[in-house]
């Protein structure tokens, strides 16, 4: 999966999980603020992303994964690790 494809699928999944139209979401925009999430909702969103992508975000990075760009980068990074 190319990075644009990965970004598109993450954006689509976030829109599905949050039930919001995220077409206008900028790559570096704070997701938690954009969606108006509380800390628990943010955690649940990450858990659902992990489940759907079969990923496991590093616990120490959970607080940093607040933008589309950061999520795509982390998933891409994990994909590379899986390939290697």
């Amino acid at each position: 999966m190319t990075r644009p494809e990965l970004e598109s699928s993450v954006r689509a999944l976030l829109a599905e999980l949050s039930r919001r139209d995220l077409a206008a979401l900028q790559r570096d925009e704070d997701l938690v603020e954009h969606l108006g999430l509380d800390s628990l909702q943010a955690l649940m969103l990450l858990a659902q992303l992990e489940k759907r992508f079969g990923a496991r975000f590093p616990d120490a990075r959970l607080a940093d994964l607040r933008t589309l760009a950061a999520l795509v980068e982390e998933l891409e990074h994990q994909g590379k690790e899986l390939v290697s």
Partner: protein
């Protein structure tokens, strides 16, 4: 007539080492900030109970001019305070009275120690403001205010007695959390409890439509606020609770409340809670083993439920509702082994959040009377130390120093980044397993 209603707020810790440690404990600091940022529902309700024709100003104590500076002019001032801040409330009352402004004091502490409070006020309101405040304002306006007004202890939420809190007084102010109350009192009646149970004759339940109307009123003055239900034990009456919960999804709110562990028994209730936007329930577990819970409540309810704590926590959290588990250190059965015991239980429980406090004999509680009568209180008057983090009595099976040191150790074990992340990870895996 212009009436000033002043809320005393904030979390305080007197013991210096613990206060210093508190600065570095992320969850402790976070919860302290949350509590400090909540508006006073009691005073907003008092505002709502005020007869028409009077101007009301709501102020937080932190907004007031410092001692020596000129005070805002009011015709009458009402101050509400919990025990830990009561001396500050008394000092503030003296400032206003010295400036010629009559002062009314109310709240839980005033209700529990009315004779003490009466020395610092022109009038006091005992128990709830319902049934007292409208008469007080009318009497004041007519120049015949009495020194003491008794509020209702029953039928508090009947239509003729209750009023919509004046959430509109918060318009334009930076509150992102709002409180509503669905009930007062708690049938468990734990010995230590100094909450609304002490100002009600029995469990009082607000009509569901009134709760919904209050939420809508609060939504009109703040953008997407997080709601805290200011209850001591929500969901005591299940049929009523479910009826309310079925109405909440349409409001699209996220909210928090306090309950007891029995909610885990009711699958339908948990499903409704999850669908209604309930983010967290705070549950008083108090202690991790049943022997230590003997005598805590008159019916031995918590002792009987203790064996099922772990399964119940998992079941609630698996519905996407986090549990804030509360423990009290220094119960009469506790020796120095309790600190490791709580740490180990928390690690096994997967609780997303944990609140650990020290047993506190608030004046007016059965616990206070018992410790006072047995000569175990460290001072005759210690209200400024009723913070839930300062030791004010002699424990039975350890020294004061051991309790203080053990609490500091437990705080550092529970409130650190590693444990915080571990609890987050456990919660995420529960959410993933549920789908």
């Amino acid at each position: 007539m212009k009436i000033g209603l002043i809320a005393m707020s904030g979390v305080r810790v007197h013991e210096p080492e613990l206060a210093a440690l508190g600065v570095s404990l992320p969850q402790f600091v976070h919860r302290g900030k949350v509590i400090a940022s909540l508006p006073s529902l009691g005073l907003l309700t008092v505002a709502g109970l005020t007869p028409p024709g009077h101007e009301i100003a709501y102020r937080e104590c932190a907004e007031l001019p410092p001692p020596g500076a000129e005070l805002e002019r009011f015709d009458l001032v009402g101050i509400s305070s919990f025990t830990a801040q009561i001396d500050e409330a008394y000092a503030l009352a003296e400032r206003y009275r010295a400036a010629g402004v009559p002062v009314v004091l109310g709240g839980l502490h005033v209700s529990l120690l009315p004779d003490e409070a009466a020395q610092h006020a022109d009038a006091i309101v005992v128990d709830g403001a319902e049934g007292a405040w409208p008469k007080l304002v009318e009497d004041f306006a007519n120049g015949r205010m009495q020194p003491r007004y008794q509020g209702l202890r029953a039928h508090v939420f009947e239509d003729a007695n209750r009023a919509m809190p004046r959430f509109d007084l918060l318009r334009g102010r930076p509150y992102n959390r709002m409180t509503v109350q669905t009930s007062r009192g708690c049938p468990l009646a734990c010995e230590f409890c100094a909450a609304s149970l002490r100002i009600t004759a029995s469990f009082q339940q607000k009509p569901g439509q009134a709760v919904l109307a209050e939420i809508r009123a609060a939504l009109a003055v703040a953008e997407r606020p997080f709601f805290e239900f200011a209850d001591d034990n929500s969901f005591v009456r299940r049929a009523w609770s479910k009826e309310l919960l079925r109405e909440l999804p349409a409001l699209g709110i996220r909210w928090f409340t306090e309950s007891d562990i029995s909610i885990a028994d009711d699958e339908e209730l948990l499903e409704l809670l999850a669908a209604s936007g309930c983010a967290q329930v705070l549950i008083g577990l108090e202690s991790p083993d049943e022997k230590s819970l003997v005598g805590l409540d008159p019916h031995g309810w918590k002792q009987r439920r203790c064996d099922g704590y772990l399964r119940a926590i998992e079941r609630i959290q698996a519905h996407g509702i986090s549990v804030n588990g509360c423990f009290i250190l220094g119960l009469d059965s506790h020796g120095p082994e309790i600190f490791e015991s709580v740490r180990e239980f928390v690690a096994r429980s997967g609780l997303l959040e944990v609140q650990v406090t020290v047993q506190t004999p608030f004046p007016g509680t059965p616990l206070y009377k018992r410790l006072h009568d047995s000569g175990r209180l460290l001072a005759e008057r210690y209200w400024e130390k009723c913070t839930l983090f300062d030791v004010t009595y002699r424990p039975l099976h350890m020294s004061v120093a051991e309790l203080e040191a053990g609490m500091r150790w437990l705080f550092s074990e529970l409130y650190n980044e590693r444990e915080f992340l571990s609890r987050k990870r456990h919660y995420m895996e529960l959410v993933k397993a549920r789908g």
